[in-house]
């Protein structure tokens, strides 16, 4: 009760802080004083504090199962474990928006204290643009999704959190993803401020690169966690489904990655200024579009909680205002003030980065069209369609091979004008890659030529980056690590795709299912009772043709609040291979429906994503070292 009101009022005070902060900043803009008015930083801190208080009191309401709060009632239950009571705070629409607001205010505060050496006007303008977004979100929360709505009479029990969201990976997935999404808001505000101040320059590139890296790292890890969760919770045994909601998170990642590469050109050579601004704007717009698509209920997935058209319309209007504002500013103020001659030789780091950007934009348009086209068709022709994985695979995989080769070469090139060094060793690596791939693939795949080209390219990148890492010759170790991670990722995904074997069958307790490579024995089932669900645990013995026995115990859970049945796959993970067994029940039948998969290199998909992010982390560290 008390926490509820505390949260509500501190949210209002937070909004007042933001408005006053805008007023003070605008006044300070015309002040000739060289330093930023210290009140601004204090106000920004206050704004952050009030949002934190509001968020903490929401968490407290969840911990205490205070059902006088509407969203606690809708999303929590007394029997739920404490951990999921807490994470339930952002497992719903209202709470996750509050988290979004929290990250927005946190980032602008960090920006203010970390940018002391930057020009004053630029800092204040960045703050103002960010405040525009913050106030927009404050209003959005007030008008359409207040997390502190009061319920009377107070219900005695809540409705519970969707059981598939009760999961450790999913508990930290939204905060990390938001750090990435919202981190791009700072890039957006800062680039608009820099455009108005005509400050898009090498110095600015150096300064903003850190922010790009930070949100890129969080976005990468956030997407990975969501993917891990989908792998073991949704029971299909895959890690990427090309589901619209996944695509929506991939799109800002693609533009952010493109931006990350362009920033290098800006930082070192002062070039590509317009393109950097456009990418900064696009990244944040895509993050916002993502929120719009997910929150408006247009897309169907786990992420659509409650659908309320008013929310969609609000975000849509807000989005349009931001787009028009940013485009207006860009066209009015932007001047290409690059004094260096923009000439560069065709074989240089600049052109390789342009090539990277071409690929990124191509991948982006594939994903964008695949995601948006069904929505348009539905609105215009009222035809229901869906675009599945084959569409994306067909359009993206053929371009992967040249993309990987360019990644290998691009790393080695120098700025302005370059030539390829160590031609002989490169050719040797290429030949080794092709031979290796050919011998590995010879007996296991039907589409030999296609996969040979693709995997050779990945191996080539793998070997060249590995060599750089061993020789420690390269001065851009962070890029090398990330590119190495990417080659490992592609290799793991491809081999995983080629070598995965799957068996689905319907089986009764006590039966054996014999297949070409072994047998599955369904020993028995056991019933268990937990605080908020009952479960049936199946005991399976899988014997492969070498006589090796794997015991797998998948589970079916019957949650009482809300009434839902979920399957918990049992996965035995080893360094090289994952064994995945999931069982389902069909009501009123003795048969259990099981799916058994042997998936090689699953673990390496996650490891390689971590290596990619590690490269980003190293990039952050290197900057300090240079100073």
């Amino acid at each position: 009760m008390l926490a509820n009101q505390l949260g509500y009022y501190s949210l209002i005070i937070g909004l007042l802080c933001s408005i006053y902060l805008c007023y003070v900043s605008i006044k300070d803009l015309n002040n000739t004083n060289r330093n930023v008015n210290p009140n601004i930083i204090i106000l920004s801190f206050l704004q952050l504090t009030f949002v934190i208080i509001s968020f903490l009191s929401l968490i407290l309401s969840f911990i205490n199962s205070d059902f006088s709060n509407e969203i606690v009632f809708n999303n929590s239950h007394t029997t739920k474990p404490l951990f999921y009571k807490i994470t339930g705070t952002w497992g719903n629409h209202e709470g996750s928006l509050l988290l979004w607001l929290l990250v927005l205010t946190l980032f602008i505060f960090l920006f203010l204290i970390k940018s002391k050496e930057q020009p004053k006007k630029y800092r204040i303008l960045t703050l103002l643009f960010q405040e525009l977004i913050i106030i927009g979100f404050f209003l959005f929360i007030y008008m359409t999704s207040n997390p502190f709505n009061y319920l009377f009479p107070v219900p005695t029990e809540g409705l519970g959190l969707n059981p598939i969201l009760q999961d450790p990976a999913l508990a930290i997935h939204p905060p990390l993803l938001y750090l990435g999404y919202v981190g791009s808001s700072i890039i957006f505000s800062a680039s608009l401020a820099a455009v108005t101040q005509n400050y898009i320059s090498k110095e600015w590139g150096k300064h903003i690169k850190k922010w790009v890296l930070i949100s890129w790292i969080f976005l990468t890890i956030g997407i990975m966690l969501g993917s891990i969760w989908a792998y073991y919770e949704l029971g299909w045994g895959g890690f990427w489904f090309w589901d619209p909601v996944e695509n929506v998170s991939l799109m800002p990642w693609l533009t952010l990655t493109a931006l990350l590469h362009c920033i290098l050109v800006l930082e070192k050579r002062g070039g590509l200024t317009s393109w950097v601004v456009i990418l900064s704007i696009t990244t944040f717009m895509l993050s916002m579009c993502g929120t719009f698509l997910v929150r408006s209920g247009i897309l169907n997935s786990v992420h659509t909680f409650a659908n309320d058209p008013a929310r969609g319309i609000f975000i849509l209007i807000f989005l349009f205002i931001l787009i028009f504002l940013s485009l207006g500013i860009f066209f009015l103020f932007h001047k290409d003030n690059n004094k260096d001659p923009n000439n560069f030789f065709w074989l240089s780091k600049e052109s390789s980065i342009l090539v990277n950007n071409w690929f990124m934009m191509y991948f982006l348009s594939v994903v964008l069209i695949g995601t948006v086209y069904p929505i348009f068709l539905d609105v215009i022709l009222a035809e229901k369609i869906s675009v599945g994985a084959p569409f994306y695979q067909k359009l993206i995989t053929p371009f992967l091979a040249p993309f990987l080769l360019f990644m290998a070469f691009g790393l080695k090139l120098k700025w302005i004008k370059s030539k390829i060094e160590n031609k002989s060793s490169l050719i040797m690596f290429l030949i080794i890659s092709i031979m290796l791939t050919f011998f590995i693939l010879k007996n296991i795949t039907t589409d030999l030529l296609f996969y040979t080209i693709l995997i050779s390219a990945a191996f080539f990148l793998f070997f060249t980056t590995l060599r750089e890492l061993f020789l420690k010759k390269s001065n851009n170790i962070s890029q090398t690590i990330s590119h190495f991670g990417f080659s490992l990722l592609i290799l793991s995904i491809l081999f995983n795709g080629i070598l995965t074997s799957e068996i689905t069958t319907n089986i009764k307790v006590g039966e054996r299912y014999v297949y070409s490579n072994g047998e599955i024995f369904f020993e028995r089932i056991e019933k268990e009772k937990k605080s908020n669900f009952d479960s049936i645990v199946g005991y399976f013995k899988v014997t492969n043709n070498k006589g090796k026995v794997t015991k797998l115990n998948p589970e079916i859970r019957f949650y009482n609040q809300p009434v839902t049945i979920t399957s918990e796959a049992d996965i035995k993970t080893t360094l090289l291979v994952d064994k995945f067994l999931v069982m389902n029940i069909v009501k009123g039948n003795d048969y259990f429906n099981i799916r058994y998969q042997v998936k090689p290199f699953m673990l390496w998909i996650w490891i390689s994503v971590l290596i990619i992010s590690l490269g980003g982390l190293m990039g952050l560290r290197k900057k300090k070292y240079e100073k």
């Binding site: 029971g235 594939v366 069209i369 086209y373 067909k394 689905t504 319907n506 048969y591």
Partner: protein, 139 residues
């Protein structure tokens, strides 16, 4: 010098334009082949010719229609006006049950017989895909 720069810009623009056109063409081309249409049993009944392409069928699982043996699941999808027989071998989502909404993806063998390759998972008991809602005429 000036002329060279203009030439370079022009070349660059042409390259970009060309690649944009190429990629849009590619995307639209494969969109045509890979789109999966959603049909209700009634729409299938009124089809003029059978499509060999993959489609999705949605509706309710008819009461008392589910039968299971060791390698397949048979059931009937109905929209209370028309119905279609479905055969499926593969993993069934937990919320698949008689009297509940379902979306099946696969190929039409004829107007009364559908061979499913995938049954789509749903996430909670009360949730009904909008396509199914529409197919059933629920507002």
């Amino acid at each position: 010098m000036y002329g060279k720069k203009v030439k370079l810009r022009f070349l660059f623009l042409v390259l970009i334009l060309f690649s944009v056109i190429l990629s849009v063409f590619l995307i639209l081309q494969s969109l045509k082949d890979n789109v999966v249409y959603f049909k209700s049993p009634s729409e299938i009944k009124s089809l003029l010719e059978l499509d060999k392409k993959k489609i999705r069928v949605g509706g309710m699982v008819k009461m008392l229609s589910v039968s299971i043996n060791s390698d397949e699941v048979n059931f009937v999808i109905t929209d209370f006006k028309n119905e279609i027989n479905v055969t499926y071998s593969g993993a069934v989502p937990n919320l698949f049950a008689e009297g509940k909404g379902v979306v099946a993806e696969g190929f039409l063998k004829d107007r009364n017989y559908f061979l499913a390759t995938k049954i789509l998972a749903k996430h909670d008991e009360n949730y009904m895909p909008p396509e199914v809602k529409e197919a059933l005429g629920v507002k």
